[in-house]
């Protein structure tokens, strides 16, 4: 199949799929199809046959009847938005951030609250967990045991 035959075959396929209206054809193929059409009476016949189908399709009586403004109002007022977890956290942080920086006394309040909270937590929750002097004695005792075992083996 030569190049011309190939382009005519493709033009016929485009007409059969998308109809006679050039605006319905794939944009990157419009020029090639138009050129093939101008050179072939067979393609022009195919185009006029497809024009009949397009005219029939255009007779469809289906129309929209919903009131878009009312639908939008009803949905927006009655249905809560479903935000992702990240969006929710972001929203909370944004509100918190805006609140903290507004006015002169708020940053001071936030700072002093944080420090106070830290001091209270530190004072109430701090418990010394280990007595290192005992740990030192224990390690000495272990070393002492091992040493005494070694001495015992020598004898």
């Amino acid at each position: 199949m030569n190049r011309e035959e190939k382009s005519q075959r493709r033009a016929a396929a485009v007409l059969a799929a998308y109809g006679e209206n050039q605006s319905a054809w794939p944009p990157d193929e419009r020029a090639d199809v138009s050129e093939a059409l101008s050179q072939s009476a067979v393609l022009q016949q195919i185009r006029s046959n497809e024009a009949v189908v397009d005219r029939l399709l255009s007779q469809s009586s289906t129309v929209a009847s919903l009131d878009a403004e009312q639908v939008a109002r009803t949905i927006a007022q009655r249905i809560p938005q479903r935000l992702s977890f990240v969006a929710q956290v972001k929203g909370v942080l944004e509100v918190l951030g805006e609140w903290c920086v507004a006015g002169s006394w708020r940053p001071a309040l936030v700072g002093s609250t944080t420090v106070s909270l830290g001091l209270i937590l530190g004072a109430t929750l701090y418990v010394p967990t280990e007595d290192w002097s005992q740990a030192e004695q224990y390690s000495f005792s272990v070393v002492g045991d091992v040493a005494s075992d070694a001495v015992a083996e020598e004898f």
Partner: protein, 179 residues
Amino acid sequence: MPVDEGELVARVGQADQHAYAELVTRHLPAIEVYAKRILGDDALAQDIAQDVMVVLWQRSNDFNPAKARLTTWLHRVAHNRCIDVLRKRQREVSLETNNTEKEPLGSDSTDRQYPRERQPIDTVLACLPESQRTALVLTYYQNLSNREVAEITNSSIRAVESLLVRARGNVKKQLETLK
């Protein structure tokens, strides 16, 4: 000058009701008509169209303007809803055919869904197989590109073209039989 849709969608994500109303006004009619042509049931199609607008309100953050146009995204949601309804209907019809006593003589599902006052082309469209009808409606009536139709129907451009050729061929045949 119309506001960019990506910007409007971002504003919907921040619960901006004016931006949402603007998008619904732009897209609801097309989605409603699409669902009506696919399902042939006005009430059901309106439910689906409103359902799609709820998705736009609730999940606008899922939409990525870099990946697709908003109309493609909304048509994809509508398409999936319509497929669900058609599958459910198919199951119901198969159950009904098992119980023939309930079905009055001379009635069929097409008659029930498409009143006689509709144009012959609407009846012809209703008789097409679902995949052919979807490809034809999305391309011819919704003015979507072959790439967008392939994306919505989760198929290839070649498959979409093949469906379009068969759909248009069937339209020709069916209209000849109606004459």
